[in-house]
Symmetry: D2
Amino acid sequence: MSLLICGATIIDGVGSKPIEGRAIWIEGGRIKAIGQRSEFASHPEAKIVNAQGQYAIPGLIDTNVHLVGTLFLDEFVRFEGRYEELIAEAAQVALKNGLTTVCDTWGPRQALIAVREKINAGTIPGSRILCAGNIIGLDGPFSENFFPKYLEVASSSFVQRVNSVYAETVGPELTWLPPDEVGRVVRSYTRSGVDFIKYASSEHRVPSGPSAYLTFSPAVQAVIVEEAHRAGLTAQAHSTSVEGLKAAIEAGCDIIQHGNLTGTVPIPGATLESFVKRKAACAVLAFSKRQQKVILEQGAPELRKSHSPAFMEASHQVNIRNLLSCGASLLLCTDSGYVSQEVMRDPAFEPIVGEDSLYALGSGHFQWFEAMQEHGMAPMEALKAATRNIAVALKKDKDLGSLEPGKVADLIILEKDPLQSASHYRSIGTVIKDGVVVDRSRLPLTPVMRGAAKP
Amino acid sequence: MSLLICGATIIDGVGSKPIEGRAIWIEGGRIKAIGQRSEFASHPEAKIVNAQGQYAIPGLIDTNVHLVGTLFLDEFVRFEGRYEELIAEAAQVALKNGLTTVCDTWGPRQALIAVREKINAGTIPGSRILCAGNIIGLDGPFSENFFPKYLEVASSSFVQRVNSVYAETVGPELTWLPPDEVGRVVRSYTRSGVDFIKYASSEHRVPSGPSAYLTFSPAVQAVIVEEAHRAGLTAQAHSTSVEGLKAAIEAGCDIIQHGNLTGTVPIPGATLESFVKRKAACAVLAFSKRQQKVILEQGAPELRKSHSPAFMEASHQVNIRNLLSCGASLLLCTDSGYVSQEVMRDPAFEPIVGEDSLYALGSGHFQWFEAMQEHGMAPMEALKAATRNIAVALKKDKDLGSLEPGKVADLIILEKDPLQSASHYRSIGTVIKDGVVVDRSRLPLTPVMRGAAKP
Amino acid sequence: MSLLICGATIIDGVGSKPIEGRAIWIEGGRIKAIGQRSEFASHPEAKIVNAQGQYAIPGLIDTNVHLVGTLFLDEFVRFEGRYEELIAEAAQVALKNGLTTVCDTWGPRQALIAVREKINAGTIPGSRILCAGNIIGLDGPFSENFFPKYLEVASSSFVQRVNSVYAETVGPELTWLPPDEVGRVVRSYTRSGVDFIKYASSEHRVPSGPSAYLTFSPAVQAVIVEEAHRAGLTAQAHSTSVEGLKAAIEAGCDIIQHGNLTGTVPIPGATLESFVKRKAACAVLAFSKRQQKVILEQGAPELRKSHSPAFMEASHQVNIRNLLSCGASLLLCTDSGYVSQEVMRDPAFEPIVGEDSLYALGSGHFQWFEAMQEHGMAPMEALKAATRNIAVALKKDKDLGSLEPGKVADLIILEKDPLQSASHYRSIGTVIKDGVVVDRSRLPLTPVMRGAAKP
Amino acid sequence: MSLLICGATIIDGVGSKPIEGRAIWIEGGRIKAIGQRSEFASHPEAKIVNAQGQYAIPGLIDTNVHLVGTLFLDEFVRFEGRYEELIAEAAQVALKNGLTTVCDTWGPRQALIAVREKINAGTIPGSRILCAGNIIGLDGPFSENFFPKYLEVASSSFVQRVNSVYAETVGPELTWLPPDEVGRVVRSYTRSGVDFIKYASSEHRVPSGPSAYLTFSPAVQAVIVEEAHRAGLTAQAHSTSVEGLKAAIEAGCDIIQHGNLTGTVPIPGATLESFVKRKAACAVLAFSKRQQKVILEQGAPELRKSHSPAFMEASHQVNIRNLLSCGASLLLCTDSGYVSQEVMRDPAFEPIVGEDSLYALGSGHFQWFEAMQEHGMAPMEALKAATRNIAVALKKDKDLGSLEPGKVADLIILEKDPLQSASHYRSIGTVIKDGVVVDRSRLPLTPVMRGAAKP
């Protein structure tokens, strides 16, 4: 099927300025050409999308989401064996909100791949999924890394079942091993169908606990990245500290997740410079001022402790300012999860994953644009951070990230100019993925997580 | 359909001696007559059950079971909305093991009634269910009364949902009210389809904690029993202390559950006498020596603490001895739950609900007979404690509890003489309920709780 | 030594009106006479207290204090073996603030008696102490009744040591016993030097938990009160529920502690009437509106849960209103503890025991007068509730509670009229105890609890 | 004062064989000469120690003890401000049992230095103390590193007070910093009077938890060691994993504490070799078979989990075997603490710190010799591991570790030959420190920790 998008101001994710007076010709799921509408007059069979006065931008990409966002223990049980349904639902909510591609950076690998394949085959609609499976070195949800209390009340067979679905062969036991043994295990994991590799450079916990340990030694980190690259995959690291960040960059990671989080200690200048030297992209987790305020004022004591004013200042204000000026490639990162209404409304969770929060999949990326605007990022840079920069960092820029002939036809038509105000990303008119107009009104097709609470 | 049971020694639950040389004539679900086989020769259409050399006894009744025996939090979630399946499964396991009637003394009322009706209508096989719904004054499972830790990790909507299914209108808030207000609430509950009323006289916790409080004042207890009787129902109390026991007897309860449990303090003589005076039956929870040993030697620290040697001595040895000699009507009580294989094999639970334990539904009643034999109960008294005494205490002796003309035809044919050894109750040859031979090999029909662990 | 108090308006705690133009003649620690100053002109040796324009009232009595108010575990250890010092310090803080007598209703008996004797002997200054030792039926501080978490981290020898100092022979194990056995133990305890007996009628926990159990059956309660009376002591009950209150009144208690606390259920009319019929006095725990607001707005989640608006409405507004109109004898009750600065400033404790809170010994009684004024208590009634009513309820009115010839000379001289405004109780000019002017500026003599935090 | 030790077989810690027929001449606290007794005949003023048939060995050194071994929270409070007394007591218990020098590797720096100076000045007797103060990177006792539960029940001022006494400026916050900033802080700490520096290479917790993180990156570790060496101090690392061990050796540490502990993963060959190449000594923590058995059979569940058979096999059997054959310098290490009787008898602690356990200061080193004998260490090597090897690793061999002229006169006279059986180290006849015979019968002078439990 052919599609002709007419009348829109085109912001292609590559050039420094919007393009006026051009139409986009889409065929076979890819952008065939961009040119004067008159050039395409000989194709009367094409479906015309009249985007007069609107803005065409590349489909958005989020580098860091969790399509399965179960938080309460009862949810883990209720949705056991139904991860594919949740993932499909989440991928559809993402697509509805303009994310044509999402990177799942911690989730149940097999279910993610199964849904990814269905979406790729066109069996169901949904955001394009790229997934890492487990964060190498971390355990499943029922562990000190995530929800230690759950261990005390669940049957051990359930705990083992769920943890093994997440951690598979690349769990915490790897942290005990020397580099070559870790390498062998990771090599095998690179062949398991994942799209990229993610490992933990610093430990996983709330972003400003009493201490910050390295999950893996730099030598082991280097081996993990090497194995990813040998398999033709990109590598990412989870990092929340200055030394974790440095180790991850030096290990050769392509993307550092939430690289701006370094507790209350700003990133040293030498490390800022190494982003550029080592060509590591920095996925930036950015709270808007509004969300910072909500967390600091309405958060539960634990949340306020881990998101202290000093943390907000160093990890959010100072680091983001310095990252903006150091020339690093910055990427959209929400770390958002697809959570239930119950979680959204729970007093403990509401300030952080409530409606329209950074961590809530579906709205988090809108928050991100608004936050980065507050931090002073140039509008065109913000757009590229959510499109082309990510495609490049993922080594997927042959296909994704920009509106250019030959690229996959993932694009959004906004009713308002995103370069004028970050809030305009919310004015989604049309989402096109793989050259097909998405029927947003139908998404998600079968709500399970956001469906009726009663089973 | 007619049934003629021939050749068996008949122990009818009424007389002091077995009856030899008689046949039992069953018709329309009831015992029509017991007589010489020759008397029934004119009924050639009857199905003949040849029980030569075997022993016919009334169907067994357990006064205290929990057909839904979920223990781990993940089980509560997994089986939410499937209580009817679990109850049916448990009722079939009970029936298979010779319990033709079970009294569910704490469970989800609506589901219990639904299954009870299906069994009564003959839609599915199963032990005859008599149920109380909630223990008046106690909360649902996620509370200080049962599993307080679960409150910390489950979503509040799940907690409220489950608790409200159990506690309904007769939960812990009643303990705050004066007698007349409790009475009004209980009156309404007596009309909810329950077969009997059960309330907490002393608090619910492990049987020998640091203190023993009264859940309800004697005045409130009297009102609760009065409301039950006014509605034509019998009343039971949960009791675990000397004062709880006295209050329950004085309130007019028909049955005191595990009345022998009074911590490390033996029941005073005056209270023993009041059983007879006030016509209160005592459901006796009795561990065999083997199980006492398993608990004391292999139990987890908490279990060993709550089942200390001093507790075993007072509540089991001394109290049971005195109850046997005081003339009280004693009843079979296992307090058994229908639990999963995972629970049975868990180190924390195994010593108490493992295979062939008192608290494991299906085997608990066999344990009970063996324990009471050890305590010196006369074989014929033990048999009556599990049949006719219970029927009388429940005011159901018009129909249940004995092999007499006119009674419902619930009976078991044992291959070995139960009066010779308590272990012979395990030698079940045939179970007949409502005059129909049960196909034990098919039970349970659809295992859910004991089915595959994976959903 | 003789003392002549001249010029003051005398509010004697007995009459319905203040007395003007009279002087109080004190000799040998007692009030010798009250009359025209000229009547006493022949005693030139007397020390003259010029109280012109001031107000003389009986020394205040608090029915419910805890002179040892340790809360954090480290305080319990730090002050182990130093209870006498803490008690002396607290008694001096109380005296400094106008309380010439305090009733310690839960504390370490031996240390309380030792300090009581020193104060009575005049060895050290301090409020007159009347003490109960343990609350019969409750355990020491490290138990489910008070601080269960502490059990997990302290050595068992320390736990046992502290608990045994508090609980002695009358701890929670009594709740397992029948009446006669409880009676025997209590009889012995009445001979241990305590001034009155206190037991738990309803369980001890935050004032509106999920359920409200009876600690002792009414039969046991009756025996406890009987033993107290037989020994010539008065009896008090801890009560926090409607049924607990009724049982305590019916058992014959002289004083019900915080009898107005009945959760969210107001006291039934019949129980209100029984106060008068059974001559039971009600010690009223009354929050001012200001403190209610602080609790509801700044309290930690747990505190807000246990002091919900519904609880405030029933237990404070409705019950106090009804108690005022039913004719019961009401008594000043703060339930205040002598706590450290660290506790006062801790976020979890500050809203409830911070400076100038009801529960903070030294200021709590001022709060109480202000709260009762808000509740509409007549000023003269409030004064009697803090003086003569208590003396009567304690059967100590032969000596205490009023300014009458023959009574012990405990009195306060206020600079402002307490009948005009409750806040005027704070305007303490002079405190006289046992006929001696207290040197308030020196109190407390040796601050330990409120001394330097470092040991 | 002069001392002449005659008749003993001398095992000097240097030579490969015992020396017979020589006497040791001590003067001015040092060994003046070793020779024929006849050579020293001209010194009649010397005190003669007749050691005929006995064995003179260098005073023993333990590389890893904790002189303050408080474990229960109440002990921490009770002994706050009394650390010096505990340290003196522990140093005296150590000396009594033949340890003339102990290295305190985690403790309150100021108190340790104060006692060290008193012992060095001869004011009080005691083992010579060398101390590190805090383990750099770890927090005080009330933290996730040691006793997290205590945080919940102690006042925050107490927690901060104790933690700051331990952690001072080199606590967990250093783990957040880049190398140069850590270097600056450590530089300052090297000037605080400590004898050596210890830092955490891998995280501190039970020896085989789910994961093994690095506390500091290798770059930070290198800076810490560099600062120690620049200040003329030796450096040690706490290590419990393969990667932690490698990082510590490569950072240039002089001693790796319990370097044989690497969870269930044996030390790789390359790392074994690096001990020799990098001249790092390995302090070996070695359980005897008896203690392994006690732990595995009687340990609490948590202890058994962290000391699993697989851990015992890898960290104890395999690693010690390989360390023995790789040529590394091995050192005596008990990691023992000076604990109370209450702790020794507590069910949770008894299997690990009970009487005569490796972790119990006073007996731990005897256990160690017996364990290493079981592991096949040559008797002479074991003796050097507890004497000269340690002196060399600490760069104190100019003074300590052997019986040679010019060395400090620290020696023990054993009644039985330690080269014949490891158990003979227990046969202490005489302890000489600084050339003075220790009056062992008086030690410890003033027992506080092991004194009466009541304060």
